[in-house]
Assembly symmetry: C2
Homo-oligomer: 329 residues x 2
């Protein structure tokens, strides 16, 4: 992390900038200490072939919201969540979903440009800190945050602190192997990881597989392959479509095994789920919970709550990233 | 944990009592702060149908070594490692390998009897603290200890602290599911856990299965089923026995997946292995390491050392348990 000092006059309420870098878009906003998002917007990540043009545009658009918020004098720092973001080094390393290869010194690039302190961590870690400060994990000392989106990310809090691990990369539950020799993950080349089943892509692949091998009638047969997301499967399930329910059962069973393994590792009070898949409600939550309980040994059973994040989706990533600024104090 | 104060005169070097309760035997000893085991011995756990007679005998035999060590005035406290031992409550809960059922208030029973402070944790957690104070993990802040014995235990250290989790039961990697719908675990009823493959019983079951289905000649065909342990398999492997090597490859592959999953969860600097299986050297370590690396995503590859505990086996459990006394300060 880049260490610079922000100088805020004592009579001004400090603000934080939260930036969430995703493979497609980058969300940014200005947040106060109570978690109110004062301004927020989004720009494209994808169109930037180099990180330098990305930083230039980000600097321009963020400077505009800084001006709206009363100028750089009120800004205490910048928090950034990004895939494969490293808290210790401030670098993004080999992120398969970002357009830039290798090791990117993102915190340094941003802090040079903005002349503000920058704290970087992986996007799911940022989400976990956001939940701990403003969301479903308020007051908890041991919990696991799992983001079910394009990928599957996680942030693990134990003894009240995020586990960064020896090298800053801890908390990659999405890449843990649930089905040895299972489905290949296009990004990592590994077989049978949680992400290859419980991500948006994973659910789509499951739907395609189930549609190919099943002779049952299904509303999903009319949906084009590229539109087969958890929303489409949910829409079918709510109409009573059996195949759609089986897709959720299958996904939930695998997610539940991964959750059971995580519980037996760090024994959290709760698991907070966030992301598109959670909108399918009990279609996905019931098989997930059942499978988790089935795979837990007795001392862990019926203890761990599975909670859905109640932070506004458009703001959660920005909130989590901004929380890094206060957490650093 | 039971909180009592020990009164040690200022000119006397304090000592700790380490007790390791296993399903068959209970080891106990007196240890100084540098990790020297002054006295040690073992008594039967198994023969005690009730915990009360167990405590009575333990009090008697431990009192004898306390007298040899200069009397109770030198003893700072008692540390106990036990299966399903809970650090927060001082209880042993539903331990499938112990003769006593339900919830046993072990720390209280012991501290009432000895009038000394007692700290209890699970046996593998105690081993992890022992390694951190005296062994292969000295100076490490993020590591995982795995004990490969009758069962498979683990203790996870992150940010320099053992992860106890919300309820004190964290670190049960032995019960994480590696092969969904895999081999059933006789103690827990769960299918495909690490312990059902990488424990002493697990290796024996694999050997029996491989011998049944293989037509290859093997030295192991002459070994009675109850003698088929990792030592017997090792003895055959060193003679060039192909089936014996396959048993280790199979076990190592499964252990490696579990290690990869643990690494992607807490990102440790090293994994310390302890127990009978490690004596099979590269026969088990090479397939374990290969499988771990194969299942890790790029950011974790070629970073995590797999180390073998170099603490004397007879003393490691006592040392680890005694370390709880100093760790508590």
């Amino acid at each position: 992390m880049a260490k610079k000092k922000a100088h805020i006059p004592p009579n001004v309420t400090p603000l934080a900038i939260g930036i969430d870098i995703g493979g497609t878009g980058t969300k940014y906003g200005i947040v106060d200490r109570d978690g109110n998002v004062l301004f927020s917007a989004e720009m494209s990540t994808k169109k930037h072939k180099t990180v330098n043009t990305f930083i230039d545009e980000l600097h321009q658009v963020v400077s505009e919201v800084i001006d709206k918020a009363g100028g750089v004098g009120r800004i205490k720092g910048i928090g950034v969540g990004a895939p494969n973001g490293n808290y210790y080094t401030g670098t993004i390393e080999y992120a398969p979903n970002l357009p830039w290869e290798g090791v990117i010194p993102l915190a340094k690039l941003l802090s040079d440009k903005f002349q503000l302190p920058v704290t970087l961590t992986n996007d799911a870690n940022a989400a976990a800190i956001g939940e701990m400060m403003y969301g479903a994990a308020k007051g908890m000392k041991d919990f696991i945050m799992i983001t079910l989106g394009t990928g599957v990310g996680s942030g693990i809090v134990a003894n009240g602190h995020l586990i960064y691990g020896h090298d800053g990369f801890a908390g990659e539950l999405g890449h843990t192997i649930v089905i040895p020799d299972g489905r290949i993950h296009a990004g990592t080349g590994k077989k049978g990881s949680l992400e290859s089943y419980a991500s948006a892509t994973g659910v789509r692949l499951t739907a395609i597989e189930f549609l190919e091998k099943s002779k049952k009638p299904s509303l999903l047969k009319k949906v084009p392959a590229e539109m087969l997301d958890s929303k489409a499967v949910y829409d079918a399930a709510i109409e009573g479509d059996e195949l759609a329910k089986e897709i959720f059962n299958y996904t939930g069973r695998i997610l539940g095994i991964a959750l059971a393994n995580a519980v037996m590792t760090t024994s959290p009070e709760a698991i907070i789920l966030f992301g598109g898949l959670t909108k399918s409600g009990d279609f996905i939550l019931k098989p997930t919970r059942d499978s988790m309980e089935d795979n837990l040994i007795q001392v862990f059973q019926n203890k761990v709550r599975i909670l859905i994040s109640h932070l506004k989706e458009a703001h959660a990533a920005i909130l989590g990233a901004s929380a890094l600024v206060w957490e650093r104090e």
